[in-house]
């Protein structure tokens, strides 16, 4: 479904002079950036720099004041969030976006929502075609959970599992449709160091094996250095750097904004 977007190296996501304002406050000012297919791009910056706003703009949760966002050769700003999700942009949430009263597998099934081919009438009538579509989705959801080694959590309520497990489930739910682009909003918060390494390994595995591109907001700098092909630095809603990890590390403006004065 998304094959045309998955060609390695081709331009996948591009933001052109994107601005977002809340009241009179500019949360993002003229930010431009691109993500190529299969690329891991980290977005870093101090708190309040506009990182999550950037994610919300890309996924259609906040409107743009100016600028445009394209996915492949389709313009996606102005679409509804569920339409952008359909086009292949999926995300996790900073404060945990799981559906707490649903089980783990139901969360993944909710992520597969658009892939369950059953129309309203066949669902209400309980037709065999609707049941079959549901069974196939359940099998696919189990497969996905098994891929990250958490199939034993399938029938637990999402609010009952540990914070680390919740992040894994959120990632599984987000990649359930095999999207070309995944936005991870601080996936490592609250994770113990070994679990962080595991997370890094998972991100690399997904990008290598499935050609997934990742846009990553993260404060855990060792994880960022570990997985990123490129790092974008935001400060007060403006992009102040966009380069390979090694270069960003020695960039003067970045050091001042992000790490404080030496």
């Amino acid at each position: 479904m998304f094959d045309t977007l998955n060609r390695p190296g081709s331009r996948l996501l591009s933001l052109t002079d994107v601005s977002v304002a809340f009241g009179g406050l500019a949360a993002l000012s003229d930010v431009s950036l691109t993500v190529a297919a299969g690329e891991v791009v980290a977005v870093i910056g101090p708190n309040g720099a506009g990182k999550t706003t950037l994610f919300n703009a890309v996924t259609g949760l906040v409107p743009l004041a100016r600028g445009r966002i394209d996915l492949g050769d389709q313009r996606i700003d102005g679409l509804y969030p569920h339409e952008i999700s359909e086009k292949g942009v999926r995300r996790t949430f900073q404060n945990g976006g799981l559906f707490g009263h649903l089980t783990v597998i139901e969360n993944v099934l909710a992520g597969l929502h658009s892939r369950i081919a059953a129309n309203q009438l066949s669902i209400i009538l309980g037709l065999p075609s609707a049941r079959r579509a549901e069974r196939e989705a359940v099998a696919r959801a189990r497969e996905l959970l098994a891929m990250l080694g958490i199939e034993r959590l399938a029938d637990e309520l999402a609010s009952n599992i540990s914070g680390g497990q919740q992040r894994m489930v959120e990632i599984v739910r987000a990649i359930a449709t095999n999207p070309p682009l995944l936005l991870l909003d601080e996936p490592a918060v609250g994770l113990a160091p070994p679990v962080r390494q595991e997370l890094g390994a998972i991100i690399r595995r997904l990008t290598k094996s499935q050609g997934l591109a990742v846009l990553l907001i993260e404060h855990a700098i060792e994880l960022v250095m570990d997985v990123s092909d490129r790092i974008v630095v935001l400060n007060y809603g403006q992009k102040i750097a966009d380069a390979a990890p090694a270069e960003v590390r020695s960039d003067k403006a970045v050091l001042e904004a992000y790490l404080g004065h030496a």
Partner: protein, 331 residues
């Protein structure tokens, strides 16, 4: 390793959300044997319980599964009853057509009430707006006299199905049981599908639901419309059962009864709403021999249930069903 308790709890939830197919159809089948055991009065009470099954199951979709504090349920019920009553009284329309009209009017009212929710009005604010809608409808019932005959209400003629007059309560029972079974089955199908999961996803985290590709606005309208459809059908059956439709049947007190059915039965659970409907229709009848203490006892009973069974009556059931569970625990 999952320990046995954990596994049991997991199974519990699974069956909870996936009412087991075989057992479901067993219930109406057994109920078919009921009429010979009842007299006309007890049969009337059973029919009334069937009406309130639709009221509870429909209300639950919006407040339990979609998680919206929308209190227009008595309005859906009243509009359904009036639509059917008006068609039967003024136009002598066929019975089934009149019932379908009640369902459709309820469903349109549901869609209308979802509009403020679509505008982002939630929780207490939605509660007040929907309560106001209910009172507005009462004003309409009283003042649209040409159709509703105002505060004295409509008399519904003796219903006939394809020329066959439903002269006793037993006749109505078979019709009601058929309609209620179909609508409960349809609601169960809806709730355990991707659409029902969509409703619950919206309830738990609306932004995340949208980001997962769930069309949140469309599903809100759908949940309200379905709720109105089921409750409106309940209203239609009420008009046929009681044969009198008047504004004082759809007051705030009626709404509180609807709310009680859903909460006492068990929020979000279809089986809960069924149990709640049966309990709250039967209880006043069983306590009728204790005049003066009736309301007191019902109130105490409700408090006790919610203290000791916070998940509602349906959790009593969950303790018995492990016997049947094994066969159904996979979708």
């Amino acid at each position: 390793m999952i320990d046995a308790r954990e596994a049991d709890a997991a199974l519990n939830r699974r069956t909870a959300r996936h009412p087991s197919g075989g057992i479901f159809w067993l219930v109406p089948a057994v109920l078919l044997l009921l009429p010979p055991l009842l007299n006309d009065y007890t049969q009337y009470i059973v029919n009334l319980a069937l009406v309130y099954v639709l009221v509870g199951v429909g209300f639950n979709v919006v407040i339990g599964n979609l998680g919206q504090l929308a209190f227009a349920n008595a309005a859906f019920f009243g509009l359904g009853a009036y639509a059917t009553g008006i068609l039967l009284h003024h136009y002598h329309a066929p019975l089934l057509l009149s019932i379908v009209a009640g369902a459709i009017v309820g469903s349109l009212a549901g869609a209308l009430v979802s509009l403020p929710a679509l505008r982002g009005i939630r929780s207490f604010y939605l509660a007040i707006i929907t309560l106001a809608f209910g009172e507005l409808m009462r004003w309409v019932y009283v003042n649209a006299e040409a159709w509703t005959l105002g505060s004295m209400g409509l008399h519904v003629p003796r219903p006939a199905l394809f020329g066959w007059v439903l002269s006793t309560e037993k006749h109505k029972f078979y019709l009601f049981l058929g309609i209620v079974t179909l609508l409960v089955a349809a609601t169960a199908n809806l709730l355990r599908s991707r659409i029902g999961r969509g409703f619950m996803a919206i309830r738990d985290n609306e932004l995340a639901a949208a980001a997962m590709g769930i069309p949140t606005a469309r599903y809100m309208v759908l949940a309200f419309a379905w709720s109105g459809f089921v409750v409106g059908t309940g209203g239609a059956l009420y008009a046929i059962l009681v044969r009198q439709v008047s504004p004082d049947a759809f007051t705030l007190l009626e709404l509180i009864l609807h709310f009680g059915i859903v909460i006492v039965g068990g929020l979000t659970r279809i089986a809960g709403s069924i149990l709640g409907a049966v309990a709250l229709t039967m209880a006043p009848e069983l306590l009728r021999d204790l005049p003066g203490y009736e309301e007191l006892l019902i109130a105490c009973l409700m408090i006790l249930i919610l203290l000791f069974l916070p998940g509602g009556l349906v959790t009593l059931f969950d303790r018995v069903t492990p016997l049947f569970r094994q066969r159904y625990h996979r979708v």
